[in-house]
């Protein structure tokens, strides 16, 4: 049975790809992921804003109250060097590459043009096999048009692509007026893969404190239906690879994604909840299903239930919505 797949030009021994999470920040976990059969890993994200914020914060608090009172002209030792740039992250890539044989995909998160290019180049130099761009952008300005928002994504991709040779994936939100058009544009701009979809952490209200507080909610099994639909719709229409993410918890979820046309699937919440060992559980489940359903390879499965292939393409369109409502009754 051949579980291998090709994702953004990289040969993966399986379509299971632990996505960016605190787990991929840990070298030990990364090794276990490989041991349990992961095809590639996506490292935790390097947050451009976080780096800037940390620099400003450290500077501010180390300088606070200094040079004002004769006995305490400073409050901290004078340390010559801090790793406040991406050094720590780059070192992590290097170590991950040394430890793993599977592809290591780095992840870069930001909103401004600022650090993208430099960071991307350094990530490539550190040995990453691929780069996933996570454009974390929430438009709040009513004057900003959808086209302008799209341009932000496209400009960043263009800038990064012109500076690095490694394959570049774009992690997208589902919130585009015409997702296929956006996917086409990114595809045309040279994106090597699209990752569908990222989950913005949503703000929540604390009703006791009457404050807005971010809340991290992990995805649930079967929460992959949105990506399933859009991968199925996009399959065959773009050159770029596709990875399904969000709500992939079980072998069934992975199988469905591949059948929709995904080249790889990202696992995140399930590993945080159940542990890295879950990679092999899912893989075993896949094998059983493939065996039972006479599939010999992942390649054979890929896209067989995409919109292009299914008997009822309209199922992915509005009619499907009506059907769903009726079935609920």
């Amino acid at each position: 049975m051949d579980l291998s797949t090709t994702y953004m030009g990289l040969k993966l021994k399986s379509p299971l790809m632990p996505g960016a999470s605190p787990l991929t920040a840990d070298l030990g976990s990364l090794r276990q992921m490989e041991d349990h059969g992961a095809g590639a890993v996506v490292l935790h994200s390097l947050f451009e804003e976080q780096l800037t914020h940390e620099q400003k914060e450290l500077h501010h608090y180390m300088m606070q109250g200094t040079e004002g009172f004769a006995e305490s002209l400073s409050y901290f030792p004078d340390i010559d060097s801090f790793k406040l740039g991406p050094e720590e992250y780059l070192e992590h890539i290097r170590k991950a590459k040394e430890s793993l044989t599977i592809p290591v995909i780095a992840s870069l998160n930001g909103v401004t043009r600022g650090g993208w290019i430099d960071f991307a180049r350094q990530i490539e130099q550190a040995g990453a096999d691929g780069l996933e761009l996570n454009v974390y952008f929430i438009p709040t300005n009513p004057d900003l048009t959808g086209g302008e928002v799209e341009a932000i994504y496209l400009n960043i991709l263009a800038a990064v692509k012109s500076f690095v040779q490694i394959p570049v994936a774009v992690k997208l939100s589902p919130f585009f007026s015409s997702l296929p058009n956006m996917a086409h544009k990114l595809d045309g701009m040279g994106a090597n893969a699209l990752v569908l979809f990222n989950r913005f952490y949503q703000p929540d209200f604390d009703l006791e404190e009457m404050e807005v507080k971010p809340r991290v909610r992990l995805s649930r099994p079967g929460g992959n239906l949105m990506s399933l639909r859009w991968i199925a719709i996009l399959y065959g229409h773009i050159k770029a690879s596709m990875a399904a993410t969000t709500g992939i918890h079980t072998a069934e979820d992975v199988i469905k994604s591949v059948l929709a046309g995904a080249d790889a699937t990202q696992l995140c919440s399930v590993l945080l909840q159940l542990g890295v060992r879950e990679v092999s559980t899912i893989l075993d489940g896949m094998k059983k299903w493939m065996d039972a359903h006479d599939y010999e390879s992942v390649a054979q499965m890929k896209g067989v239930m995409s919109q292009k292939s299914v008997a009822e393409p309209a199922a992915f369109e509005r009619a499907n919505y009506m059907k769903a409502l009726q079935s609920y009754k």
Binding site: Q55, Y75, I79, K83, G85
Partner: protein
């Protein structure tokens, strides 16, 4: 290795050599020597090697006494060892110094000479400390400038190895230790050439070793001790020549020639001064000036004070000398004269007697004191001293630099004497502590010193307050080495970096005619002139100043730098002063920015670059009109309503004119009135809290949290509102204890608030219609200042709440009590002061406080004003600071007296029962004093007693009258920080706890030496970065509470206001009421934690919720009831340690400097917390039912 020019301060110059020539460095922080230890520790942390290619061991000890012991031990086992200290620290080393010298052990202690605490503490410089060790048998070598510090550090090391006489290498605290100067750095080749490795090995060979065992440190008896003590004589006889030989060797290698006594001045001088330390630099400048004018004067600069070489001294004197004035920077009351004076007299007498003196006759010798506690010492004063020698009867035992209008010992001097050359550029910069002015000026000095041919000097004067502090930078540069070791009073450039200073500081009085004045102005260039106070306008016109202005806050803000205007003002300075071509200057500024901030990331560098680039476009020269037109007058320093002393004396200190006060202005014994901080209206808050009476629930949380007692609350009769200002707010009081229909006001002290915002953070009430607002909200101070000033005045006039009906066990109750600790100089948002304030609210009218040296003694007792206050009856805390190390014992001394006097007064009362009346006596003797009503009743009885006693004429009556107040229970409080309680004072603290005496010990636990700038203490948590723990503290925080609990009869509480304020109030009440020793360990957030001080209370909460700082009360009284005395007041950890820790820079920075170490230490810290909690839980579960049967020993 070639030598290079460096621009560094005296401390770094000393440490530079000391570190390289040491194998072991034992350190302990004390101002102003701390930076030497800090440099050494920092170098050790990055594995910087010494001269022999190995990294010295740098070890912080628990006190200077401990450091000296460790040094002694390291020396005895053969290591090249050093330490750094000053003042009280040096005193603590004395016992070991005798030993080290007695054993002829080579070592050098580098000492920043600092004032000893007498009538007051002072962190500043004089020779009081070093003079207190002149009898220990150590050589004493005095450096007078930063260059000499580096040179003498090497010479003293070479000489001690050769002579075997240990050396105190000293230089003046602050004036030299903190003066930044361009000097030639010695190379390691120089050091190798000076240090004889054979002597190093000889030292090692004398060391203790079980491989060649010897015994040192015997006890000797009358038969032999004396003879044995005399065996060292030949070493002391030989030492001066050895020092001179090393100086000569140094001259050959390096080129700078020093002598044991250097002479400067006319070869045919008739009048000379003898002086040592930085004063010698001043003397040199004055003498050169006077000699150039044809005067026959000179100065003998004493380098080697001990062993004192009579021969070398007299040889340094010109044969023509007729009069000598000896200047001592110390005071020895009761002595014939100060030490150097006595030595000079003795030296002359001896050499005259022996016939070895080159002088033909005994000159007239007078002695005098100068420069105590860094009092300015100027060429004008040197001239006055020399002029005194010309008098027919020169004044002896004089003082210079002050106006002694009591004993009339001071010499008059002409402050107009100017000895500085015109080509020396002198600049003054007035900055706000937080704006980065000093840092930028240090950079400017480096740029000028290292990138031009100029010589450069920088000296910085700081504030006595930690919030809103004013700094003054004194910068000189010029074509020749600078010897002017005194402040600038005639400046060619004055920079005012904060507009509000124009109303507070008369800075232009220091401007030379035609000088440049650069002002950071929030106003547009067209408005600047009209906004200036009249006095400033007049000075600008009168002195024909060139006037420039820039809105630096705006430029810095736009560059993302907030209030840090340093780079902007620095760029202006270079642009206007023309010291470098503009392009070149900007290039150097940017290079300095890169060097300074590069370690903290490119973003900071880029922000500063942006500020530099946008500065010049915003810098404008302001056209100066011919006439002053302003109607803005400078406000009075203090209110005309202030007491006379405050108006006449304190106000001068506040205005920065304390130097002008005469001796008669001061109390003879250091005793000052309390409650004077109320007169110092600092107006440093940009925003102040404003009360929303409509939604306030009157909980008191804002008030209890306010670090400066600038939020007050009172409940009172509505009738009191008559005459209230129009904007005065009040609402119905939500409480019944004062009777029905009372009204309530929460009032802010607008001019005393520091604007920290803690009150808003802790307010639990949200506005239902606008959740961004609370029941107290920050608003700009300026528009509110006038109205709120009136409101606050009216509020203070309302009667204080009746303590006898307030529930003092609640937060709200405590806050209805008047704070007797107010408006201190603590940091904005301080985590310590709310505890101190609470103490005064609960017990202030009968509290006597012993305060360990540290933050709490500085904000508690640093002049000009005193924050401890009095209630309407004139009662309030009595406060004294003894030392750092002895505070527990000091406080116990209070208790001993109070107990004795209570007993004695009761004895007298019984004895006088017939005269006083049996009933009254019985009532007094049997009075309950456990609550406020009872205390009030007892006070009334004692008042009646005193009245009766005044009518009885007998010794007993008079004695009882003087003691009667002791019949009312007093509350002894022993306050200090963790540096005291966990480290230097721990031995005493332990003893006092063990004593069983009724004292209350409040440890303000910031987990670091806050006052001296953030050095590690044993309270510092594992994984936190501090000075001396650059790689994160490897060991866990000492569990002082557990140690104290182990006695079984000590009341112990750990408290954190931000986590549980009710528990704090309960703990204070329980501790105070416990008739035995009580220990309260209060978690105090601190600026040294690297946090937003506004959110300090949330950090306290996180410390508790993570299990880092569990709350507990251990109440031995419960054992009497058969109950477990331990009660855990916090719950098991709800968040991991890392969640709490990584919200604070002190922990987080380690993840950015040493991520792997950080990960390991935080894991261990989590384990510490887990284990501690498990242990406490089990301890709290123990069955104590047997305790009631056996009774409890309270000591």
């Amino acid at each position: 290795m070639a030598r290079k020019m460096v621009t560094i301060d005296g401390n770094e110059a000393a440490a530079y050599v000391a570190y390289r020539l040491s194998e072991v460095v034992a350190i302990y922080p004390i101002t102003p020597s701390s930076p030497m230890g800090e440099h050494s520790d920092a170098w050790g942390a990055v594995n910087k090697k010494n001269l022999w290619g190995t990294v010295p061991h740098v070890c912080e000890m628990q006190s200077e006494g401990g450091a000296a012991g460790a040094v002694h031990g390291a020396l005895q086992t053969g290591a090249l060892t050093t330490t750094f200290t000053a003042s009280q620290g040096l005193l603590l080393m004395i016992p070991n110094m005798y030993k080290i010298a007695g054993e002829l052990t080579p070592t050098v202690f580098h000492v920043t000479a600092r004032t000893l605490a007498t009538h007051a503490l002072s962190i500043f410089g004089d020779h009081g400390d070093v003079m207190a060790v002149r009898q220990t048998g150590w050589a004493m070598l005095a450096a007078g400038s930063v260059q000499e510090v580096m040179d003498f550090a090497l010479i003293s090391n070479a000489a001690t190895l050769r002579s075997r006489v240990p050396v105190v290498h000293f230089f003046d605290g602050f004036r030299t230790s903190h003066e930044v100067m361009k000097i030639e750095a010695l190379s390691e080749d120089d050091m190798r050439a000076m240090i004889d490795d054979e002597l190093v090995r000889a030292h090692r060979a004398r060391a203790l070793s079980p491989d060649r065992p010897v015994l040192r440190g015997t006890a000797q008896n009358p038969d032999v001790f004396f003879q044995a003590r005399e065996t060292c004589n030949k070493y002391y006889d030989a030492a001066p020549a050895i020092f001179q030989a090393e100086m000569d060797k140094f001259a050959k290698i390096v080129g700078r020639q020093y002598h044991l006594f250097d002479y400067v001045g006319a070869p045919d001088a008739e009048r000379v001064v003898v002086v040592m330390g930085s004063g010698a630099e001043v003397a040199r400048e004055a003498i050169e000036h006077m000699v150039a004018k044809g005067q026959k004067v000179g100065a003998v600069i004493v380098r080697l004070f001990r062993p004192f070489s009579v021969k070398h001294f007299v040889q340094a004197l010109p044969k023509t000398v007729k009069g000598i004035a000896v200047l001592d920077r110390t005071k020895e009351p009761g002595a014939i004269g100060e030490p150097l004076y006595q030595d000079i007299i003795a030296a002359l007498e001896e050499s005259m007697g022996e016939g070895s003196c080159p002088l033909s006759s005994m000159p007239k010798v007078v002695g005098g004191r100068y420069g105590l506690s860094s009092k300015e010492f100027t060429p004008a004063m040197v001239k006055a001293v020399l002029d005194n020698l010309s008098a027919a009867s020169p004044k002896n035992h004089f003082t210079v630099g002050i106006n002694d209008d009591v004993t009339h010992l001071s010499l008059d001097y002409d402050a107009g004497v100017d000895t500085e050359a015109d080509d020396v550029v002198r600049c003054l910069f007035y900055g706000l502590g937080s704006d980065g002015t000093v840092g930028a000026n240090k950079n400017s000095i480096k740029i000028i010193g290292e990138d031009t041919d100029n010589w450069a000097q920088g000296y910085f004067v700081y504030d006595s307050k930690k919030a809103g502090s004013v700094t003054v930078s004194h910068l000189r540069f010029g074509p020749r080495p600078i010897h002017s070791s005194y402040l600038i009073s005639r400046a060619k450039f004055i920079g005012c970096h904060n507009w509000t200073f124009l109303e507070k500081v008369d800075m232009l009085t220091n401007a030379l005619p035609g000088a440049v004045f650069l002002l950071n102005s929030p106003f547009d260039q067209s408005e600047v002139w009209d906004k200036l106070p009249r006095r400033v306008q007049e000075q600008i016109i009168e002195k024909k100043l060139k006037f420039y202005a820039i809105d630096a806050i705006k430029v810095a803000g736009e560059a993302g730098m907030g209030q840090r205007i340093n780079t902007v003002m620095q760029t202006c300075f270079f642009a206007i002063s023309g010291v470098l071509p503009r392009d070149k200057a900007i290039e150097h500024i940017k290079a300095a920015i890169k060097k300074t901030y590069g370690a903290k990331g490119d973003k900071i560098v880029q922000m500063n670059y942006a500020a530099v680039d946008s500065t010049l476009a915003s810098l404008h020269e302001i056209k100066v009109p011919a006439k002053a037109t302003s109607t803005i007058e400078l406000p009075p320093v203090v209110s005309p309503e202030a007491p006379e002393y405050v108006r006449n004396v304190t106000a001068k200190m506040i205005a920065g004119e304390g130097d002008s006060l005469p001796v008669s202005a001061f109390p003879v014994d250091g005793t000052f009135d309390t409650a004077t901080s109320q007169w110092e209206k600092r107006n440093i808050a940009i925003e102040i809290p404003v009360w929303d009476s409509s939604i306030c629930i009157q909980c008191g949380k804002c008030s209890i949290a306010c670090p400066h007692a600038a939020i007050r609350m009172k409940a009172y009769d509505k009738a009191e509102l008559a005459g209230a200002p129009a904007t005065f707010k009040s609402v119905a009081y939500k409480g019944k204890e004062f009777g029905p229909d009372k009204v309530f006001t929460l009032q802010v002290a607008p001019e005393d608030c520091t604007g920290c915002g803690v009150c808003v953070e802790v307010c639990p009430v949200k506005n239902k219609t606008d959740v961004s607002k609370k029941a107290i909200n920050m608003e700009p101070q300026l528009p509110l200042r006038e109205t709120e000033r009136e409101n606050y005045k009216f509020f203070l006039g309302l009667p204080d709440n009746d303590r006898t009906v307030i529930d003092l066990t609640t937060v709200k109750g405590s806050q209805l009590c008047r704070p007797l600790f107010e408006y201190s100089g603590a940091c904005a948002g301080c985590g310590e002061t709310p505890y101190v304030k609470l103490l005064t609210q609960l017990f202030g009218d009968r509290a006597i406080i012993g305060n360990a040296t540290g933050c709490s003694s500085i904000y508690g007792g640093n002049l000009p004003t005193t924050p401890y206050a009095k209630d309407a009856n004139g009662r309030g805390p009595a406060w004294c600071n003894s030392l750092f190390e002895d505070n527990a014992e000091f406080g116990m001394g209070y208790r001993l007296t109070l107990d004795k006097f209570a007993q004695y007064s009761r004895e007298l009362l019984q004895k006088m029962a017939d005269q006083v009346g049996e009933t009254l006596v019985s009532e007094i003797l049997n009075a309950d004093q456990t609550n406020e009503q009872a205390l009030a009743a007892q006070r009334a009885r004692v008042a009646e007693l005193k009245k009766k006693l005044t009518q009885i004429n007998s010794p007993d009556a008079m004695n009882l009258l003087s003691l009667a107040d002791h019949l009312v229970k007093k509350s002894v409080w022993i306050l200090g920080g963790d540096g005291w309680a966990y480290d230097i004072g721990y031995g005493g603290l332990d003893h006092v706890l063990a004593s069983g005496r009724n004292v209350n010990i409040l440890v303000l636990d910031t987990e670091v030496y806050s006052n001296t700038g953030g050095q590690m203490s044993k309270s510092t948590p594992r994984g936190a970065v501090a000075k001396f723990a650059q790689a994160g503290k490897p060991m866990p925080k000492k569990n002082l509470a557990l140690i104290a609990m182990s006695y079984g009869y000590v009341y112990v509480a750990t408290v954190a206001l931000g986590a549980n304020d009710s528990q704090v109030v309960r703990a204070f009440q329980e501790a105070e009421s416990y008739d035995g020793p009580s220990l309260i360990i209060a978690y105090a957030h601190c600026i040294a934690h690297g946090i937003n001080m506004k959110t300090g209370f949330s950090h306290q909460k996180a410390a508790v919720e993570s299990g880092h700082f569990p709350l507990l009360r251990y109440n031995p009284r419960l054992m009497e009831e058969g109950k477990n005395p331990l009660k855990l007041d916090s719950r098991p950890a709800r968040i991991p340690i890392s969640d709490y820790a990584y919200s604070e820079t002190r922990y987080k920075m380690l993840t950015k400097s040493q991520p792997e170490a950080a990960a390991k230490l935080i894991e261990l810290a989590q384990r510490d917390a887990d284990n501690r909690w498990k242990f406490y839980e089990q301890m709290a579960e123990l069955n104590y039912s047997h305790a009631s049967e056996n009774g409890v020993n309270k000591g």
